[in-house]
Symmetry: C2
């Protein structure tokens, strides 16, 4: 059987008891290592789980899924995914492939940023569609996120922004043969996301949001070192929430006073926060 | 410290290792037992966790939160919540109260239906706001859900419907004194939800959806007994997915072919499914 196991958000103890039991008994254990990361490294996971982990990069998962599924008709093969397994389309592909091969599959769920973001104090019922933000380059600034945010904002809803990560484990073999050199990993910060959002608003000028729109930045959610900050997009673009992973939530006008009470605690600047709230939020 | 621990979706082994360690060491452990339920009973949890659990009903959480928080300034008090702790507003209230009392608090996250619904094969990025459906009575048929669904459908997004549960542990003391008699617990089925949706569409007639709109019903997600069914709302209203808990997803027109490939596997009737898909979905 293929068992896709969610690892949760922060460290090696965020796995469920059910997941850990399956990992310990599996014939092979893959670790998906390109759509998200835990805040601890592979060695720590291996020693805690008591199992060697095979790193699965995008290439392996997308082009060599049959390698992952080899033997899964008779033995248990585990595929570990940070968060909950269904954040990324990729894993649906793997399950579809298992189905084609008549390999039974099951999922062991875990926390995902898509629901854990409720820890900000913003109500999950008030979120619209989730949006991804990629690193802009000089020549490539994809702005389809803007249309999605605009749709959410028009009906008054919050938008969770999932931030790009560029991770590619350097393969020693490849390095030795000089075939590919990978850049060091990069993780988008809430500040970079806010700055890119403001850049696109300036280009488009459709007023989906502005420098005074309120946002909440979240860093290292679920760890003891978790941090949150609430402020305007302008303030957030200048913020520093420390090491990865970060996410950002842009507030919608339907925000409730209970949400305000909760997030005001970590306002970058309470006076600005109160003013912006008063002008733009708590409206149906 | 107040530690709010998510229990995940199905049974006693869905708790995280981190959560279980906290439960074992806490001075008191409450089990929130009115916004959702696991598929196993309290005795099973108690014997697995090795701790007695204090049932916390709505009345206790909303009116006697200081009782729950007593001693939490110095000792660890655990508050267990099915799913992830931030599904319900109630728990934000408890955390706000802890903050007022200067009691430190933290959350140990877990799987929530709001992200685990990705197991249907529907992409989380394509979901709009989540909506709750309550049991209608002869005289009370609240239909604000209809406006929310309409907003989602207008921009082509899926809607996750969270279904009402009526649970109230009968207090022996109350029973003995004849003060209150509680009804047996009731859990809304995907079929009941679909029927109520069609009833309101008939009343309103605004065409937010119709009997031929496609939906996916999910039952007992995360358990070995998990079941899914895809079909029209009319078909879903006549469906029987077995014991609780159920959820229902109404599809939006932006649905992708990859989503179709995945959910077609559990179509109630493939011919009807294909016809409805062809006519209404996969459109931007």
């Amino acid at each position: 059987m293929l068992v896709v196991v969610g690892l949760g958000l922060a460290d090696e103890t965020d796995i469920t008891v059910k997941g850990l039991n399956v990992v310990k008994a599996a014939s092979r254990v893959y670790l998906e290592a390109y759509t998200s990361i835990l805040l601890v490294d592979k060695d720590k996971l291996e020693s805690y789980y008591g199992r060697p982990l095979i790193l699965a990069d995008r290439e392996m998962v997308e082009s060599s899924s049959d390698e992952i599924l080899a033997g899964a008709a008779t033995d248990d093969v585990v595929f570990l995914v940070v968060g909950d397994p269904f954040g990324a389309t990729t894993h649906t592909d793997l399950l579809l492939r298992a189905r084609e091969l008549k390999i039974p599959a099951k999922t062991i769920h875990n926390a995902s940023i898509m629901s854990a973001v409720g820890a900000t104090g913003l109500q999950l019922y008030n979120f619209g569609q989730t949006v991804s933000m990629v690193f802009f380059t000089e020549t490539w600034k994809p702005s389809s996120f803007y249309d999605r945010i605009k749709e959410n904002r028009q009906i008054g809803l919050h938008t969770l922004m999932l931030l790009d990560i560029k991770v590619k484990e350097p393969s020693l073999e490849n390095l030795a043969r000089g075939r590919k050199i990978y850049e060091p990993p990069r993780y988008m910060t809430a500040g970079q996301c806010a700055a890119q959002m403001l850049e696109i608003e300036e280009d488009r000028g459709e007023g989906a949001y502005g420098p005074d729109s309120l946002a909440v930045g979240v860093a290292r959610l679920g760890s003891d070192d978790q941090r949150m900050a609430a402020g305007t997009l302008k303030q957030m673009s200048e913020s520093d929430l420390g090491p990865p992973l970060h996410s950002l939530v842009l507030l919608g006008r339907r925000a409730h006073d209970l949400e305000r009470d909760y997030i005001r605690e970590y306002a970058v600047d309470e006076k600005t926060f109160d003013k912006c709230w008063e002008e733009q939020y708590g409206k149906q």
